[in-house]
Amino acid sequence: MSNDFYNASILPFAGIIIKICRAYTNTQEDFEDYYQEVSLQIWKSKDNFREESEWSTWIYRLSLNVCLTLLKKKKNNDQHFASDSLPPEAAVYNHAFADESINQLYDAIRKLSEIDRAVILLYLEEKSYQEIADIIGTNPNNIGVRIKRIKKRLEKLIKE
């Protein structure tokens, strides 16, 4: 991947990729692998970007797709290492976020189903219901109800 493309088109949006990859991995090593794979896929798929959405929205969509695919592959390859089967306490990062609350929130998010993780991440990133529905490929009418349910579950998980 050329440095120019990475610096100009991926690095400014690295935050999005980091936030998403963190929700789908339990270890620093996996996180870095996912980040790398997402970056590579963005580069490889850049010609498919049709400017129907913003570049950042496209990055959200692609990052989620790559993470979901990698998670599926990982589950198939290594059943007992699947992130869902690991308790959140097992999450090991060399560089945990400085803010303890966000670490707790991530631990709770990682306990959600894969799609619920995607929905809540997009909601927290202040995407509209329509955008969330577009990115995930679902009906926008169901998003609101789903978010309420997820938020309740997250609050409960954080309190536990």
Partner: protein, 213 residues
């Protein structure tokens, strides 16, 4: 008052250090190295299999009383192994410290050279196998039995140096055909053994070429 998850999310990322992108590793270097290692491993296994086959043929031929045929086939197969080992040695000399693209490019041209070398070799080896096997068999005790049976069925059988002319013609035809078709036959064989690794290597190279443009 407890913070809402929205607040936790917003405040959690206020600190700019929270979103430091990890360093991208040289992904292609790792991928290319794995593919090349796999290629070398399959190649080594292939040569070991050929060598074992050569030894088995030699031993079996001694027991079957066709020692000369066995020795000749053993020598031909040893030639295949010798060439393979020599080429594997050349492959190991390719500098791994150069950039991934150059490394993969060199591996690719090495593969092409080896394929072309083996194709040339098989143009001679395939017909040799056929000739040695057929005539080796003919001049053995099995051949004697076959000769008696053929002579009984057709007493007017014409011979050339003690071999039925029809056999000689058939063997020559097969030998010529095998020599002419050596390329496609070898490619078919190659695809069975190395097809997947070659495909991976090609994909990798295409990817890298795209990256460079």
């Amino acid at each position: 008052m407890e913070k809402s998850i929205e607040t936790i999310w917003k405040e959690g990322f206020l600190n700019s250090d929270a979103l430091v992108a990890p360093r991208l590793n040289d992904l292609y270097n790792q991928k290319s190295q794995n593919t090349v290692d796999k290629l070398l491993k399959i190649g080594k296994m292939n040569l070991v299999t050929v060598m074992i086959t050569a030894i088995v043929i030699l031993i079996a031929s001694i027991f079957a009383g066709v020692t000369y045929m066995g020795m000749a086939l053993f020598l031909l197969l040893s030639l295949v192994v010798f060439y393979g080992k020599q080429q594997a040695g050349r492959m190991k000399e390719i500098d791994k410290n150069q950039n991934s693209y150059q490394y993969i490019k060199e591996v690719d041209s090495w593969i092409k050279e080896v394929i072309s070398g083996y194709t040339r070799m098989y143009r001679f080896l395939y017909p040799s196998f056929i000739i040695i096997f057929t005539f080796g068999l003919w001049f053995s005790s099995f051949g004697d039995e076959m000769f008696i049976e053929m002579k009984l069925n057709s007493p007017d059988l014409s011979l050339l140096f003690g071999v039925p002319v029809i056999w000689v013609l058939a063997v020559i035809l097969f030998a010529v055909l095998s020599s002419l078709l050596a390329g496609p036959i070898y490619k078919f064989d190659l695809n069975l053994v190395y097809g997947r690794v070659f495909k991976k290597l090609n994909e990798l190279l295409e990817d890298m070429e795209e990256l460079r443009n």
